[in-house]
């Protein structure tokens, strides 16, 4: 394992300490709950927004805490949802009279931790509601699972809700808005390599020189199919096709109409999974942009970089998010988080 690590078991706390040291004015670190929170939170005039999920997806979510984004993030260990206690502790510290919103990526572990925490918080009279994100189109047959996974598309949900919360939106309004953004967002990822959790010390899976994994999840869990490694353009084409053709299962066992239609304006994200350099992401972006336009959609804004990673995995995902005037305003509203250039 070639990684910058001291004690593998202290990997997450050391990273969190680094985030706080790097942003003393805006970020506070509460070691007890793996919590990264805004120094100015909670605020009485604003719903507090918290995301949990496992570590190893950075910048999601500990590095997108800040004005216009999250109020706090309390991750678990690498690829493990947070223990219930972290969620309870973080929520109490961030309790606001306007309520607390938990944004949860749809995985069994995360769901359970947040459900248990919610039961505890309810019992103490603390108002908390939960929004599930499930933008991944890779897992088609969700009858076997707890439903689709939340992946890089959760950036759009968080950005929109973060901006809306700054203007004083109510907890119920935020839930409705979040469901709308989630419904308008679809992602598909793929990997060229596996990745190595520090405490495991060996890769979760390995791919041969001529193999790739389509539809990989963000936890290194294998994806839809292991295939022959092909050119950048062919990879993009398959991902865009999967997203465009996708029909999300509905509660009644049917499927919804495709999310994107002719003339729709979309945000287009090409997300790196951690080990892929940004030069390659732009090679992918060039093709994705052309393919999306060719399908009659209009790219309104681009998002190229690392938004939700799997440690040092080489790979990428494509996300489309359909936008309207309200969403455009929310997505371009000012925000300030640890992950930044300047």
């Amino acid at each position: 394992m070639k990684k910058f690590v001291n004690d593998p078991k202290r990997f997450v706390p050391e990273m969190l300490k680094g985030i706080a040291l790097a942003n003393p004015d805006t970020i506070k670190y509460v070691p007890e709950f793996n919590l990264i929170m805004r120094t100015d939170a909670p605020r009485a005039d604003k719903v507090s927004i918290i995301q949990g999920s496992g570590s190893g997806h950075e910048p999601a979510h500990v590095m997108i805490v800040g004005r216009g984004m999250l109020d706090g993030a309390c991750p678990g260990d690498v690829f493990a949802a947070p223990p219930m206690d972290y969620v309870v502790g973080a929520s109490k510290l961030l309790n606001s009279p306007k309520g607390i919103l938990h944004i949860v990526n749809n995985y069994s572990g995360d769901r359970m931790a947040f459900e248990m925490a919610t039961e505890m918080l309810d019992a103490e009279g603390i108002t908390v509601k939960t929004l599930f994100v499930d933008d991944d189109v890779a897992v088609q047959n969700s009858t076997y699972t707890v439903g689709r996974r939340g992946v890089a598309g959760n950036f759009f949900v968080i950005k929109a809700l973060g901006a809306a919360s700054e203007t004083g939106a109510s907890l119920d309004d935020l839930i409705a808005l979040g469901q709308r953004v989630n419904a308008a967002t679809r992602s598909m990822g793929m990997a060229l390599t596996g990745c190595t959790p520090p405490a495991k010390g060996t890769p979760i899976f390995t791919l041969a020189e001529d193999e790739m994994e389509m539809g990989v999840g963000i936890h290194g869990e294998p994806g839809r199919a292991r295939k022959k490694f092909v050119s950048a353009n062919e990879i993009v084409d398959e991902m865009v096709e999967a997203i465009a053709a996708d029909r999300k299962p509905t509660a009644d066992g049917g499927t919804s109409a495709p999310a994107f239609g002719n003339g729709d304006e979309v945000a287009l994200m090409v997300n790196g999974l951690g080990g892929t350099p940004i030069s390659e992401l732009y090679v992918l972006y060039a093709r994705a942009h052309e393919q999306v336009q060719k399908r009659g959609l209009n790219v309104w804004r681009s998002y190229v970089g690392e938004y939700c990673t799997s440690l040092e995995m080489a790979g990428a995902s494509v996300t489309l998010c359909k936008v309207d005037d309200q969403l455009k305003k929310l997505l371009t509203a000012p925000a300030e988080v640890p992950i930044r250039v300047f």
Binding site: A81, M84, G109, M112, A138, T202
Partner: protein, 218 residues
């Protein structure tokens, strides 16, 4: 052995398995899952052993509650929730009793099972640790009720659990991260079930040793 002694031996034994197999369980979970099962389990039970003396050892119920709380506070995700719930339910079922009958134990295990199913929205057949745990404790109960003694009952449980890990291997995982791989989970071991089998084997082993050794603990 008194009930509290048995409870202590029980916890120490399964903790040993969890801590000693961190890497193995991580690798098992890595085949179709995300590889965190090993560290989740190991870190949870390490914490239990670290806090051992600080836990309330007065009754089986109080000790199990301490274990439940420690795991829920330290372990994330599915494992924290599922194992934490199981210990909590068992502790509540045990109440303040100091001597446990086989009926008490069955009631505890039944309650733990219900809790896990509810928390995990899962059932037998989903290829989770439930598929090893439930048949294993049912085998335990059967032998124990027939008067076979604890060691023999645990032996029966361990054989059943191990058989189940093989029986469910060809199944499709329907819960946990492994479920996302769909058909590709067929033919792989379920990490949670293997852990249950190894714990049952270690328990059978511990109870088969001369009492004096067993009482000294690990």
């Amino acid at each position: 052995m008194s009930s509290i002694d048995a409870t202590e031996l029980f916890i120490r034994t399964i903790a040993d398995v969890a801590i000693g197999n961190e890497k193995y369980f991580a690798d098992l979970d890595g085949v179709c899952g995300d590889g965190d099962f090993g560290i989740s389990l190991a870190s949870g039970f390490s914490k239990v052993m670290e806090q051992w003396d600080a836990l309330d050892h007065s009754t089986t119920g109080s000790l199990l509650k301490g274990v439940a709380t420690t795991i829920a506070s330290r372990v994330g995700g599915v494992s924290g929730a599922i194992w934490g719930t199981a210990f909590l339910r068992a502790s509540v079922a045990a109440g303040t009793k100091t001597e446990l009958t086989i009926d008490d134990i069955v009631a505890m295990l039944t309650s733990a099972t219900e809790g896990m199913k509810k928390r995990g929205q899962s059932d037998l057949g989903d290829k989770t640790l439930l598929d090893a745990f439930v048949p294993a404790w049912e085998a335990f109960a059967q032998v124990a009720r027939a008067g076979g003694g604890t060691a023999a009952a645990l032996q029966a449980a361990s054989v059943t659990a191990r058989e189940k890990t093989e029986e469910i291997k060809p199944w499709v995982a329907k819960r946990g991260r492994a479920s996302y791989t769909g058909e590709r989970s067929c033919g792989t071991y379920d990490a949670g079930s293997v852990a249950v089998a190894m714990m049952a084997e270690a328990l059978a082993d511990a109870w088969s040793r001369p009492i004096s050794v067993a009482e000294r603990g690990v």
